[in-house]
Amino acid sequence: MKAIANIFVELFIDNAFVMSFLIVGIISLFSKFVADKLTRGKIHSSAIAIFLGLILAYVGGRATGGSKGLSDLPIFAGIGILGGSSFRDFAIISTSYGAKFSEIKKCGVIGVVALLIGVIGTFFVGALIAIAFGYHDAASVTTIAAGTVTFVVGPVTGAAVGADSAVIALSIAAGVVKSITVMLLTPMVAKKIGLTTPRAAMVFGGLMGTTSGTSAGLAATDPKLVPYGAMVATFYTGLGCLLCPSVLYFIMKIFLP
């Protein structure tokens, strides 16, 4: 019996990438069943699947102590390939096929405005929360605030302004929480905040940033909106890396000597 189980374990480890198709397929099928039968189609099945993915990531992270969720377990390593940044970007790019160019042109200016408000607004909200928690030096506050921009901007900024490594870790955690919150909250509030048009999706992408969070959140809301939101969101991290360690850090330095 144990020998048979071992055959499977070895097969799964040897064919990790193929294994990931099976796992994701099973998660999707289960989510579709839950969405259709238990929620009667009220909740999008991809929202349930993404939520399930996050729970599995938590379980995997707890079980292994690693940083890549479920994919730290050797038999699920393929999940890390399929869900890694390479395939993420590849799949996001493919979503632009079929999007309307006229919509994007129309929203160019709004996209830029949303990006600026998104990065700067997020930074200051993050900074206020960091100050409320007792951080009073410009480097720490800037780093934590940058982490709330995205989990990439946090460590980049932290390194540039010479923040403590514990603070950098905290900034990454804040960024990951943000990304997950966007994934989960977007489908729930989409209608209330008017997230139904390409224009609104582009504003959304600019305000939220986090490419993973935005694309997952929009995918679970209405897959047609993904290209518009994702396209704007991809410029968010770059803008954050540009503004946080420079202009925004100097502003923080004025207020926090």
């Binding site: 990531a57 992270g61 940083s67 996001i92 790019i93 804040a174 990304s179 905040i193 991809t234």
Partner: protein
């Protein structure tokens, strides 16, 4: 099938190249919006008459396949997030992460009301001209 997938891959590298170049020019040394540029490239390519002439019929199926695979990729992505450490990050990480999202979400209807009005006026003007 392969032609579309190859086109997609080509767009990704071309876009990332532009993104990285921008990164070097701005001194950030990271990819700035490479995926965004790649998306625009793919959009231009699939709408271009020359590309559609060169490519064998039905090449877009390869692009469509990956478009369909987008949600499964995102499910895999969510399953490989560092959720455990996000929760362990403590109250500050949780509050800061959730706080910024809530505030920004409240701004969407506001921004939608304020700016697009003008943009729509512009568009309708263009149509009249």
């Amino acid at each position: 099938m392969i032609y579309g997938v190859a086109l997609l891959a080509g767009c990704m590298f071309a876009g990332s190249f532009v993104g990285n170049l921008l990164g070097i020019l701005t001194g950030l040394n990271s990819d700035i919006g490479g995926v965004g540029f790649a998306m625009i490239l793919l959009l231009l390519a699939t709408n271009s008459k020359t590309v559609n002439k060169i490519m064998p019929a039905g090449y877009t199926k390869g692009v469509e396949f990956w478009k369909e695979m987008f949600i499964p990729v995102i499910i895999a992505l969510s399953a490989s997030q560092n959720v455990a450490s996000a929760i362990d990050g403590g109250l500050l990480a949780l509050l800061a992460g959730v706080g910024v999202v809530v505030v920004m979400m409240l701004m969407i209807p506001l921004l939608n009301k304020l700016i697009p009005q003008k943009a729509e006026d512009k568009v309708s003007e263009e149509v009249e001209v």
